[in-house]
């Protein structure tokens, strides 16, 4: 009985080019393309307009200081108007104005102002440039200060300390060089993986709908069919999930503090939660086009709710609740714990128990499914091909 059902499932898969694509080359292309997009990893050589109105030794030294920073690629502009124009056209992401008589003001003890404008419409790039520009300029200006102190006859040993008595040492924990591949690509790929799994499962379920007098019903052995599909598609999608992990943490060698096997377990739990959600929608709607549309609408924004780009604590309460509905947000918590903090299996199991809420969906599935099995007296044990899907 079971082998027969599996054979049937395999045949259905084999004869559906779209389903085959969804479990074979589409995930591969998607994963590799999205990784390729971010493969630069570290933002480097971002163009910055430098307007040097002073054109003195110090202002040129500061420009060189900027050029020495890997993130910044200074480009000379003759005046502010041109630089502003370039910034509006996204040719440069920030501009630095070294004011007229910068050197004179510095030497005569006035307080000159160096203006930085950065493009915060591109938030990530803008913030990065703002901090890097300030760092580089401060470094250059310390040298100027050093010279002045030495000229004033200060002791060489005390110069450094009196310029900056407290040194700052900032460490980016768990992602030392602020690599975007390690930060952004895993959640994006998980979001993609969730979408793919959802589509594969709902498509496969939709094939079982039986049309009778303009209404859809379920065949009698719907429970066995659902069980078969879960047993059949879970390993396939898990294989893709495993591929994502292997690709990122073995082939690309991104640092992973914990064991990937624990994450596979978390992925399995996520799939189960996802299947339950899809089953509720499927049994509740019983219409292929509508259930696909609904699932799409539901799962498309999952990435925004993961809390990787924007922290969960700062989301409004409603968003935090909505986040709990998404299986991917539960998974990504385990992902970060294992990859960054290197937590052990018991902790991961604890996180997995956080999926308990999805079990509340079970009664609904049973209720909807049983309701739809009451087909008006016709034999529906055979698998009629859904006309909508033909």
């Amino acid at each position: 009985m079971m082998t027969e059902l599996f054979k049937r499932e395999f045949n259905a898969l084999w004869h559906s080019p779209w389903q085959l694509a969804l479990i074979s080359y589409i995930p591969l292309i998607g994963v590799l393309a999205l990784w390729w997009l971010f493969s630069a990893g570290l933002p480097r050589q971002l163009p910055v307009a430098v307007v040097d109105v002073d054109n003195s030794q110090i202002s040129r030294m500061l420009t060189r200081q900027l050029a020495a920073n890997a993130v910044i690629a200074p480009q000379s502009y003759a005046n502010e108007a041109q630089a502003i124009e370039a910034m509006r056209q996204t040719q440069v992401y920030a501009m630095v104005v070294l004011p007229y008589q910068l050197k004179k003001d510095l030497l005569t003890g006035q307080q000159p102002t160096i203006d930085i404008r950065y493009n915060s419409q591109f938030l990530l790039v803008g913030k990065l440039l703002s901090s890097q520009l300030q760092l580089s300029l401060a470094e250059g200006l310390t040298q100027v200060g050093q010279q002045r102190l030495l000229l004033n006859g200060a002791n060489k040993a005390t110069v450094d300390v009196s310029l900056s008595p407290i040194t700052n040492q900032t460490t980016a924990l768990f992602n030392r060089n602020n690599n975007y591949v390690g930060f952004l690509v895993p959640p994006i790929l998980i979001a993609l993986w969730q979408l793919l799994s959802m589509l594969v499962f709902i498509n496969s379920l939709n094939q079982e709908l039986v049309l009778y007098q303009n209404r859809y019903y379920f065949p009698k052995q719907i429970w066995a069919l659902i069980a078969t599909k879960i047993l059949f598609y879970s390993p396939i999608m898990l294989l893709h999930g495993g591929f994502i992990l292997l690709w990122l943490y073995h082939y690309l060698g991104l640092p992973a503090a914990g064991a990937l096997v624990d994450l596979m377990l978390a992925q399995l739990a996520m799939l189960m939660a996802l299947w339950l959600m899809v089953l509720v929608i499927f049994t509740g709607m019983r219409d292929s086009a509508r259930s696909v549309s609904f699932c799409t609408a539901l799962f498309a924004p999952a990435f925004a709710f993961m809390g990787i780009t924007f922290p969960v604590n700062d989301m409004p309460l409603l968003a935090q609740w909505w986040r709990l509905i998404m299986p991917s947000s539960h998974y990504i918590d385990s992902h970060v714990s294992v990859i960054s903090y290197g937590v052990e299996l018991p902790h991961v199991l604890g996180q997995i128990s956080g999926y308990w809420g999805f079990l509340l969906l079970l009664p609904f599935i049973v209720f909807f499914a049983n309701k739809a099995k009451d087909v008006p007296k016709i034999d529906l044990t055979s698998n009629d091909v859904n006309q909508e899907l033909s």
């Binding site: 969804l22 997009l37 307080q111 930085i116 915060s120 913030k127 900056s164 040492q169 498509n203 937590v343």
Partner: protein, 382 residues
């Protein structure tokens, strides 16, 4: 059947189709609320930070208090060791730590200098940058205070001392999105993408549903059918666009720089090209739900390749080249330059012309594809 009757028939076909209505009206309305929802608080504030204070002096407590005073950082607890801080962070209770070394105050008073260490959880970049900015600012502030005290102790004139501590002002100001808010950053690009995707799905469902059934679409010439379909979707989407780019931008406080005429003029080829592309693809779909699935999988790559999340200069050249044929890609960048950065019409002219070019190509292919579908249908009937 004249053009008006045809357009009326198109309207009827769209409004009678539940799946299209759900995607178009439901999707556009639902997403206008759901997508910005996580970002409504705009900036991450009060990130949980723990302090490991090995010094426990008046100065170290001052640094801690100053860090806590920063809007970006909330000091959660004072722990005994770095190991303990590590467990707090790995349990997710804290996202950053500040380590004050032993003899911090003493070393500073002796003029030896000291090092403050900060750590932030870089698994989350916004959290990390908030923690780092908050703590560095507090550290710099303490540093200046120590400098000032030192100078005053050596008998400096207070005014001069102030000046030599702040010998230069670095005035770093965000432009175009002055609040550094997250919704003004995400929404302009994202909403254009939503318009793009729902329009593609709408035309896809409509087309895929029609080709297999006899209907009004067979009785008109392919050119007229494409023209009517473009006009109908353009009418519907001019309403959606006004809602998104008008009301939603206002509601979510997105900065707006262009005039309404410029925005309308730029949206015109974008919507036309997207709709024409939708008709082309719709002729390839045999199943109604297939278009939804294909476009769903496409949406994330299109979003990231459009260049407002990750700078275009860092995206591999081949991907950028290929992506240029997707109307959303030039449209998102052009619209950002026009409407958010205020680049002026001349600057976005090339992208505008590119969209018209895309429209011309897609429209020609669409007419050819519709003609082919009509022939197929005729052959099936006869």
């Amino acid at each position: 059947m004249n053009l008006w009757q045809l357009m009326l028939a198109e309207f009827k076909a769209i409004f009678a189709d539940k799946a299209i209505m759900v995607t178009l009206f439901g999707g556009v309305l639902f997403y206008s609320v759901l997508y910005p929802l996580p970002y409504l608080n705009q900036v991450p504030t009060e990130q949980q930070v723990v302090v490991v204070d090995h010094d426990n002096s008046s100065l170290s407590r001052l640094v801690t208090r100053h860090a806590d005073a920063s809007a970006k950082v909330h000091i959660l607890a004072n722990l005994a060791s770095i190991d303990e801080a590590e467990t707090w962070i790995s349990e997710g209770k804290a996202h950053g730590l500040l380590v004050i070394p032993a003899n911090f105050r003493r070393d500073l008073l002796l003029g030896k200098g000291a090092t403050l260490s900060y750590g932030g959880d870089a698994s989350y970049f916004l959290i990390y940058s908030a923690v780092a900015e908050g703590l560095v600012a507090a550290g710099l502030d303490a540093s200046k205070q120590v400098q000032l005290i030192g100078l005053l102790a050596r008998g400096q004139n207070p005014q001069l001392a102030q000046q030599s501590v702040n010998s230069i002002n670095i005035n770093s100001v965000p432009a175009f999105n002055p609040s550094l808010g997250y919704t003004p950053y995400v929404i302009p690009g994202l909403f254009l993408l939503i318009l793009h995707q729902t329009l593609l799905i709408g035309t896809g469902i409509l087309g895929a549903g029609q080709w297999r059934r006899p209907g009004y679409w067979q009785h008109v010439s392919p050119g007229v059918l494409v023209f009517a379909r473009l006009s109908v979707f353009l009418l519907i989407y001019s309403v959606f666009s006004s809602f998104y780019l008008g009301y939603c931008f206002y509601w979510y406080q997105v900065s707006v720089a262009a005039t309404i005429i410029e925005v309308g003029l730029f949206m015109l080829p974008f919507l036309l090209a997207t709709c024409a592309l939708g008709i082309v693809f719709s002729s390839l779909f045999a199943r109604r739900d297939l278009s939804t699935q294909v476009y769903l999988l496409m949406s994330m790559p299109v979003l990231f390749v459009s260049g407002f999340v990750w700078p275009i200069a860092l995206i591999p050249e081949p991907l950028v080249m290929i992506s240029q044929i997707i109307p959303a890609v030039p449209a998102i960048m052009g619209m950002l330059e026009l409407n958010q950065l205020g680049a002026g019409w001349l600057a976005v002219m090339p992208k505008w012309l590119q969209l018209w070019g895309l429209f011309a190509v897609f429209a020609c292919i669409a007419i050819m594809r519709v003609a082919a579908r009509q022939k197929q249908a005729k052959a099936m009937l006869s």
